[in-house]
């Protein structure tokens, strides 16, 4: 009983409960058929949301107005860069990953530069840079039809006892991110800045360095995600990252991280990502049309946010 109560007090448990309920609804509809397959598919798609979601989480935790809108464009460009550098050859996989990482980090650094040098609000800075990155991607990735190297495509699709290897890596990564957030100076600094930037500065936290690191981290994760997505979907495309504008923000907020900053939650990101993916799976198994699916997804997101409630305003 004590354990249960302690669990329920955790903000992230609700997103897992939501995911479980949606999954149960889906398998009760199919009469238990494909229950395991659904989890496998959900895990392999959710991991992509988790990777960018964690980057977005650190950015959002920096405080009000901090959000990375350049992720979709960043992911698109990195997917093209990775496929071009790998060139379909197994020997170049590592080089391609590093190239995608570098491309993502460059976008993140450019974002920070705009925020810092031009004093642009982060929303508009990442928005303007995403316009430019998007164009670069269109020009660079035009007609790109390079398949990922076989070994890389296998790696992104391979499963162990029905669990995608990538998802296992994602769990390990989330665990490390949780440690970085709660136990390392970097994460504590991010939290402090989110709670009160001026107080954090007066306390001697190198505010600007931490903000620089955070935007670069978010960019880097976007880059890695682009490469992995290109491997998973067997090819790069300009629109490959489009859905991650919404989902990266949604998983962070549904997962229990405060949009006002200063309060973050890593496990919740996994729960929220599984919830969103299983929600789509459920609506697909119900066989609803695309319009109904979008409509219900939207209503459920609004409903969940309303139920979770906002934070009491700090005065």
């Amino acid at each position: 009983m004590m354990v249960l109560r302690a669990l329920l007090a955790r903000p992230w448990i609700w997103s897992f409960i939501g995911a479980l309920l949606v999954w149960l609804a889906a398998i009760s509809f199919t009469g238990g058929y494909g229950a395991g397959g659904m989890i496998t598919a959900a895990l392999s798609l959710a991991v992509f949301m988790v990777i960018v979601g964690i980057g977005q989480m650190f950015v959002i935790t920096l405080g009000p107005g901090n959000v990375d809108l350049s992720l979709p464009a960043n992911i698109g460009l990195a997917s093209a860069v990775a496929m071009k550098v790998m060139g379909g050859s197994d020997a170049m996989i590592l080089v391609g990953l590093v190239a995608a990482l570098t491309s993502g980090m460059a976008v993140g650094m450019a974002n920070y530069l705009l925020i810092r040098a031009l004093r642009i609000p982060p929303i508009i800075a990442t928005l303007s840079s995403s316009f430019i990155v998007h164009s670069i991607d269109i020009a660079y990735g035009r007609g790109l039809q390079i398949k990922p190297p076989p070994a890389f495509a296998d790696f992104t699709n391979i499963q162990f006892l029905g669990i995608p290897i990538l998802a296992i890596c994602g769990v390990v990564f989330a665990f490390l991110a949780g440690i970085a957030l709660q136990r390392m100076i970097y994460g504590r600094s991010v939290l402090a800045i989110g709670q009160n930037m001026r107080a954090a500065w007066l306390a001697g936290i190198p505010v600007e360095r931490i903000r620089f690191l955070t935007y670069t981290l978010s960019g880097a994760l976007g880059g890695i995600n682009g490469a992995l997505l290109a491997g998973y979907f067997r090819g790069a495309s300009v629109d490959i990252g489009n859905e991650y504008l919404l989902s990266s923000i949604a998983v962070v907020v549904i997962g229990g991280t405060s949009v006002a900053g200063g309060k973050a939650n890593v496990p919740g990101i996994w729960g929220a990502a599984l919830f969103l993916v299983l929600l789509l799976t459920m609506l697909n198994t119900f066989g609803v049309s695309a319009g109904i699916r979008l409509l219900l997804t939207g209503l459920i997101i609004v409903g969940v946010i309303t139920a979770a409630g906002g934070q009491k305003a700090l005065r």
């Binding site: 031009l118 316009f131 020009a139 049309s289 319009g291 609004v302």
Partner: protein, 326 residues
């Protein structure tokens, strides 16, 4: 980090804060003029009645969507669903408003009601507007697809007639832009309730203690966003003649960019309706006519929008530093 104003008093002339503020207010008009000069230089024939009608055609719905976004930004919120909402309105206009006008009008009024309800929800539950409106963007898109699974429909004839008006001397898009800018400017900047509405963005606590209902101001502003979103969608269909569920998707980010280009700030209720319309016109002109004349491939059109934003914001940062207010 905000640094308190350290400008010594009594400075005058070109380096005074007052002059900087004036320069800042002038910036949107200045960037639009620069774009126009560039176009005139590249293709003098474009600067004509016909040229403007053609180049600025799509500027009307963009300007209306920008004004819609400006209303929510005034009260420190953000609407990430305005693009899909414009698309939804376009679909309603091209189907129901034509075939069953009464139903169409009811649906459009209802959608404005939804916006007002969202304002109340966001305020009462203290929700992040970014997430709520992101969710709503799915709702509008879903409804639009249900209504019009394939591109089609047809705009009502009166709307087609209105959007292809050819007034004497001044091209219709310019006339419309001036009317939109002046009407909103008067309502928001020159009336006493307009000051209360902007005050909600500036200092909600103060407005509340002065006896005004914050709930009412937020609901008003969200409803106004709905109204101008509806106008934008209708204007868009009037130009494109038929609708598509994805018609307005690009407007979300364009509208935010327009507000910021026009001198608006994300927090503090500092917005400018005239600036927002000018910002929208700048984006509309820079996005395609200018680039076409410069023979830049369409791939880079999006980048041009980003670049213009960055350049204008850089100029503003320089001016603001002189203004000494941040």
């Amino acid at each position: 980090m905000t640094v308190a104003a350290t400008e010594p008093l009594g400075r005058s002339g070109l380096r005074s804060p007052a002059f900087a503020r004036f320069l800042r207010a002038l910036l949107p008009a200045l960037s639009l003029t620069l774009i126009l000069i560039a176009i005139a230089y590249l293709n003098p024939r474009a600067i004509s009645y016909f040229g403007f009608s053609l180049m600025l055609n799509l500027a009307i719905p963009i300007a209306l969507a920008t004004i819609a976004q400006m209303f929510v930004i005034t009260v420190n919120e953000l609407d990430l669903s305005i693009g899909t909402f414009v698309g939804f309105v376009a679909c309603v206009t091209a189907t129901w408003l034509r075939d069953a006008p009464l139903l169409g009008i009811l649906v459009l009024l209802g959608s404005i009601g939804v916006y007002a309800a969202l304002g109340a929800l966001i305020h009462l539950r203290n929700l992040p507007s970014i997430v709520v409106t992101l969710g709503m963007s799915f709702v509008w898109q879903g409804l639009a697809i249900l209504l019009l699974p394939k591109p089609g429909g047809k705009a009502p004839d009166w709307l087609l007639g209105l959007m292809s008006l050819k007034p004497p001397l001044v091209p219709f898009p310019i006339l419309a832009a001036v009317v939109i800018a002046l009407v909103v400017h008067f309502g928001l900047m020159r009336t006493s309730y307009g000051a209360v509405l902007r005050g909600t963005g500036g200092n909600a606590q103060a407005v509340k203690r002065a006896g005004w209902s914050i709930l009412r101001t937020k609901v008003t502003m969200f409803a106004m966003t709905g109204v101008f979103g509806v106008l934008s969608g209708m204007a868009l269909v009037g130009i494109t003649t038929s609708a598509d569920a994805n018609l307005g998707n690009g407007y979300t980010l364009l509208a935010i960019a327009g507000v910021i280009l026009g001198g608006g700030e994300f927090v503090g209720g500092r917005v400018s309706p005239i600036g927002a319309v000018l910002g929208a016109l700048t984006l509309a002109l820079a996005a395609s006519p200018l680039l076409t004349f410069m023979r830049i491939p369409p791939d880079w059109q999006v980048a041009a929008n980003g670049l213009i934003l960055i350049v204008v914001l850089a100029a503003r940062a320089l001016i603001s530093r002189r203004e000494g207010d941040r």
